[in-house]
């Protein structure tokens, strides 16, 4: 999982959780999860829908406030 690989690079700053949408239904409801995979960044500050390539994920994250 890309997010898991990312966490490895800086685990003191990054927490990457794969979440079973069915097992954690309330959490899925909270974020209105439809299509998966759906990456919720910083409790909803940003969303990345789909299994995106690494460079796309990087460009999405760079839009976040540092």
């Amino acid at each position: 999982m890309l997010a898991h690989a990312m966490a490895m690079e800086n685990p003191k700053m990054i927490l990457a959780e794969g979440v079973g949408a069915m097992e954690f239904y309330e959490l899925s409801e909270k974020y209105g999860i439809g299509a998966v995979p759906d990456t919720v960044v910083n409790e909803g500050e940003h969303r990345v829908v789909g299994a995106v390539p690494e460079n796309y994920m990087l460009s999405e994250l760079k839009q976040l406030a540092k």
């Binding site: 690989a5 990312m6 490895m8 990457a16 794969g18 954690f24 990456t39 760079k62």
Partner: protein, 148 residues
């Protein structure tokens, strides 16, 4: 109890595990009130982890070990799987969690995570590594998935 993994999958996983390099410790947090998902997860890991001597499994009760749950940021979350590096007695948290039953597609994710952590290498591009190492704010990613 009937086994979850068919023989052919066990054979395949054993072959894949020949590529494991360094030890990996999987910590599983379970909870009695979520036994419908925790028990199959425990059973699956108890079938997978013994397939390599590089792998070890530690099972925690979420309620009985609140300090451990807090340490791994899995309070109130079961089943929660943590994939840690282990070097001798030292266990290193790489920030990798899987919340839920690792079945279907997520079974492959688990196997790949074990290989990645065992290699101690994310395999990411230099650009991504530079960005992640330079983070000044915490980054929390919740990747929602389903088994199919």
């Amino acid at each position: 109890m009937e086994r979850l993994l068919p023989d052919e999958i066990v054979t395949q996983v054993r072959q894949i595990f020949e590529k494991l390099v360094n030890p990996v410790q999987v910590d599983l947090f379970i909870s009695e009130d979520r036994s419908d998902t925790c028990e199959p997860t425990r059973q699956l890991l108890e079938e997978v982890i013994p397939l390599s001597d590089k792998l070890s499994l530690v099972v925690h009760d979420l309620k009985a070990e609140p300090e451990m749950a807090q340490l791994y940021k899995v309070e109130g979350k079961a089943p929660a799987i943590v994939v840690n590096a282990r070097d001798g007695q030292t266990v290193t948290d790489y920030g990798i969690r899987y919340l839920g039953v690792p079945s279907g597609h997520e079974f492959s994710t688990l196997i790949n995570d074990l290989l990645m952590v065992s290699n101690r290498d994310s395999g990411l591009s230099p650009e991504m590594r530079t960005y992640l190492k330079g983070l000044t704010q915490p980054l929390h990613m919740e990747v929602f998935t389903t088994p199919t």
